[in-house]
Amino acid sequence: MYNKSLKELSASLRSKEVSSVELSQYFLARIKHFDGELNSVITSNEEVALSTAQQADKIIASGEGGLLTGIPLLHKDIFCTQGLRTSCGSKMLDNFVAPYTATAVNKLELAGAVMLGKTNMDEFAMGSSNETSFYGGVKNPWDLETVPGGSSGGSAAAVAARLAPLASGTDTGGSIRQPAAFCGITGIKPTYGRVSRYGMIAFASSLDQGGAMAKSAEDAAIMLQAMSGFDEKDSTSVDKPMDDLLAGLGDSIKGLRVGLPKEFFTEELDVDIREKVEAAVDALKSAGAIIKEISLPNINLSVPAYYVVAPAECSANLSRFDGVRFGHRCESPKDLEDLYKRSRGEGFGNEVKRRVMMGAYVLSAGYYDAYYKKAQQVRRLIKQDFVDAFKEVDVIASATAPSVAFTSGEKKDDPVSMYLSDIFTIGVNLAGLPAMSVPCGFVDKKPVGMQLIGNYFEESRLLNVGHQYQQLTDWHLAVPTGYEQEA
């Protein structure tokens, strides 16, 4: 049951082989059984989930609903859910229950999905290992000694361990794709503006984008279709209809031009990983794709540019957590200054504080031009590189991350090395492009991900490439040892 595709699960629901209530109970049982060691789910929604599932069963019985009706899923704890705590992985919001639901969550709810709970994440989505969570790190089901990646590490680990068929994620610099790669699942971040940011707690507003994490490109396509769409509550939301993603999955990739940026295939990339990615590219070639080397001349500037822009935006975005209206407030503050300092000092973890301070620094008088303004200029150059590249190719392929999942604690005290683990994914966010990660093999029994980057609004083509690749390979069907048993 746990390895069934969405289409298969939906068919089982339709044929009454299983009810949504049973399916929800089944995955809730898997969470109870397996998540003790993984720590991927931090808030359970069991009671509400079962009543939602009951409703779904009624809809199914009446022959209504769609592919997602009655399908259980998990949401990253960055999406506000009315009535259910939204912590964003932070002590600051340990007590926060939003009086509204994020648009993306709402859309999935309307599509009939059943939310089982909320997944662990790096605090305020700042991290690449899930180790910055107030609720403790998440373990990678492929190797419990290693991290699942981040910041959507809880969602990635949960889907990898088959604790739910689907999970939402958000991606500011690679936070869907890198954990998807580390955990051997499929994750897609659409074009900036496709998924509403309303109710999604902001880290870096101009980079944040919600997306889908699933076992396969096909499942991710179904989920993304449901969660995306114009939202008047988000001014950066794009009013452009999404293609029929499922319908697009049948297209042949014969003649598809795949670009390999030479800047992404250097000695910084682990040789074993490079081999796996090249093999995956060969598979695309065998299906008729044309492979071209391309150049993204300014892409090496993406990490420094990102670590100016993202902290700058986060420094302002996180100012609202001041202990005055909601969230953590320190005990008996002696004055206003004390209230601010201690509430924020106690409520935020180190990585968040580091980024808030970096952000305040790069925006401050006398430094703005040298940092923030310069970074925005670099950002435009990077975007232009991609625009130029997409005149020559249809998709761009690379490794998702320069290494496989690293050991817990390994990079915890070395932020720069941690930041560099996003080296292949960050440019995409700066440009606002859609990109995904698909599993393409194993190195040392740890999953390797191939990143596919598409042109603006070409999620359909991108998902089709991922899907066609998954028709040729079965890496995406592999289940980590131990988790293939029933709960």
């Binding site: 506000c80 309303y198 109710g199 999604m200 008047e232 001014s235 935006e313 420094s315 996180l318």
Partner: protein, 477 residues
Amino acid sequence: MQWETVIGLEIHAQLATKSKIFSSASTAYGAEPNTQACAVDLGLPGTLPVLNEQAVRFAVKFGLAIGAHIAPFSVFARKNYFYPDLPKGYQTSQFDKPIVGLGQLDIEVDGDTKTIGVTRAHLEEDAGKSLHEDYHGMTGIDLNRAGTPLLEIVSEPDMRSAAEAVAYVKKLHTLVQYLGICDGNMQEGSFRCDVNVSVRPVGQDEFGTRAEIKNLNSFRFIEKAIAHEVERQIDVIESGAKVVQETRLYDANKDETRSMRSKEEANDYRYFPCPDLLPVAITSALLDEMRDSLPELPAAKKQRFKQQYGLNGYDSEVLTTQRAMADYYEDAVNFSDGEAKLVANWVMGELSAALNQHNIEIVSSPVSAERLGGLVKRIADQTISGKIAKQVLELMWSSEHSADELIEREGLKQISDTGELEKMIDQLMADNIDQVEQFRAGKTKMIGFFVGQLMKQTQGKANPQELNKLLQSKLKG
């Protein structure tokens, strides 16, 4: 030494939109604390701002009215600082790319016209209110005002006296109300003023160091605060010290300004473009639409009043200062069958006095323009005297009746029937032989006695001109 004062002004005009600039919460004044603050206004995590188009239209309208450049693209920025009544920890404002660029406004002081430059006007959200009283040493926060749309209008340092500054503020105050973009209510804080003041020796080109006086909310305070500040700065310089660049607060009770914070303590606001909002694009279609929607502006209206109604400069000025009063006046003239001068006297005189006394705005006058016009018509055709008219106006104030109905009901119609008046005069003269004798002996003032008696008898309804004429001839014998 002779000193010259240099003044520049920043005015915050609250835009008269129904909802806030980035949320759908109401902007109505005076609600219970925190009942008009939605999730967006509270800055709850995950919420996002959506720009109120009406605020943009109002800003454009203002820009066009002062002949300013309207930016095809303007940008909202975040102004970062911590304060309990600033929910997000930043104010969303416009910084280096404001919606309205350089424009100008003419003012008149002592009969001279002067052009004041308006540097820029930009859109921003207001903060909430911190309430320091009634909370036993703690501070209450009311976020009803948070997110209220403001247009901050920044002038060039073109004013050289408190009188010029006040003339400029009044001019703007009139203009924004004309445009219908601000209710101009200064008590409720809909129209607030920050004044930048410096002094320099006459003839010197460079400006002196300025002090900014914050949050002045009446014309009188603006004038007094400037006067006080100029005096203070001259004292400082003449005593050999230097004026410090700082923000000062005007204390109306003590009539003095005092320091709030100096430049060194000033915040670094770390402005940067707000990533939650797109640049504001102004299309030429919107510009055309706004241009077409501009009402007749005060200066043009004043000119027209002089020509069309034959009013003098002073009357035209008073009647056009408020658009509502100008509209009322024109309606009343219409209903009076064109008694322009008489209506002007009544609107500026009796009606304004009554409105002031009851503290009522002319838009909510209990006596409508139609009814006042009807009243004036009856003065003009001598149905009633001016004195009786005042009585009728009082009756109208507390009823819905027209002047004609009240004149009829109360029997206030003037007695112009000479036969009737003659009879009364004859009787009165017969009853007061002594007084008649005195008059005839040359004590002509005695006529007052007869007028008084007759007015008393007729309860003021005797036509005064008629009465006077008859008395003169009868008394003289």
